[in-house]
Assembly symmetry: C2
Homo-oligomer: 289 residues x 2
Amino acid sequence: MNDPLQIAFQGEPGAYSEVAALEYFDPGTKTIPQNSFEQVFSRVSEGGCDYGLIPIENSLAGSIHRNYDLMLRHDLHITGEYHLRVSHCLLALPGVQLSDIRRVHSHPQALAQCEIRLAELELEPVVEADTAGSARLLCEWNDRHAAALASRRAAEVYGLDILVDHMEDNPANFTRFLAISRQPLEPEDPLREEYKTSVVFSMDNRPGALFKALSVFALREIDLTKIESRPIAGRPWDYMFYIDFAGFAGTPVCRRALEHLQEITTFWRVLGSYPRHRLEYSSEKNGSK
Amino acid sequence: MNDPLQIAFQGEPGAYSEVAALEYFDPGTKTIPQNSFEQVFSRVSEGGCDYGLIPIENSLAGSIHRNYDLMLRHDLHITGEYHLRVSHCLLALPGVQLSDIRRVHSHPQALAQCEIRLAELELEPVVEADTAGSARLLCEWNDRHAAALASRRAAEVYGLDILVDHMEDNPANFTRFLAISRQPLEPEDPLREEYKTSVVFSMDNRPGALFKALSVFALREIDLTKIESRPIAGRPWDYMFYIDFAGFAGTPVCRRALEHLQEITTFWRVLGSYPRHRLEYSSEKNGSK
């Protein structure tokens, strides 16, 4: 028997990152909470954990750029992606009724995502540092007039009741997570599955430079699935480009495209190739299961 | 004498959006706080304010996608951009010494941006809904063992002392703001100044589609200053592309590029043309003045 995989995630037990880790990795995986994204990267780099699972973009809030920066500062590889539907539950101490609740504690973003629903229920929002932490505080305070907005998993972890599920005003709320590891993925047959590759590069700031860089993919009919420019830290008006394209970096056509990219860019790095995760989405769909 | 311009911003008096509005618009401008970004857009749409000033991207945290969504839902035009250096001050009641302070209240992002400095000073971070609101609460509580992380302006508004300025761990912390208005900008001579144009479009999801769209700019030697793809709300795996390019939309070359773009895209809209704001940046530079 192998030891269970150890997965580092940022947040407290019951955080959405833990929910994503438990859905993405095999059953029996051990999730290890970390205080910061930096610590997730460090734990994996130093061998304390096998993988880290980090959020990289949310369909409502946008990219989590800090984690792109950390990818550049650590020598780790993306080995997978997972799209989690984020669904907030209204949690309270066992036996408490919805009519007892006056205040709702959670992270500002979760409170904002449930703004209309909270107003309908005439509940006062109270800001806390995170969603799962609010559930933990509820238990510590033993407050029967307060609720927390957090994951279904947080209810299990802290022994709370779910008074209302799907509290969010907009159901199209997804977070894309990336699995990171010390070793790149080395599939036996990279053409058998649908893969994606994430690459980052910078160029001299000249008209048409980005167009040239994209041409290395277009000329080879390689599909781009994401593109983003962002200022380089410390040089706010120089840009770094992040691109995801369809295909495995080691296949001949992708390798030639990347060689071509190298001719054009001043800096480039493959962050990893990994199986593509497509989520069947309908606005009727249930939560994160 | 004209009435002073009325500018809607999201947040409380002393918020960074108000700081940006006071720096960007003429002296004597009246800043009108709003509870939400939606209200900023509504106030301008309905004529209650002349302009809105909204944050659109931060060099550390990334894009504020919600405001892109609101641009699409309202018939407003971008008429300007402004880059604000975000510098957090440690504020306390008058006469309070740094050695009296135990706790620091602020928005989670501001607390995170000052994490190292707060740890050095052995101050306990306490999460609140926003930065300027924390300064206001400090006054209400009359708490001489607490401080707030907020703008220099918040110190003026609430009559607080600045115990430490430049609390942020990373000085390369900029927020880009956009001015929005009911009328597009119509300069007499659009070639006299450096302009930028923001455009949004979507396309059929086919390999090389984005490359074709970018070719309309590259073939005319029009420089792109920003590009971003993001999922379309409610259709999470279809993408909308946001591009900023150098030039005024009404000039012949830009007009032809946009006509060409129309042939390729399924949806497109010019969000506005406006003078480019370049900020001289050095890591030694002082705060937002």
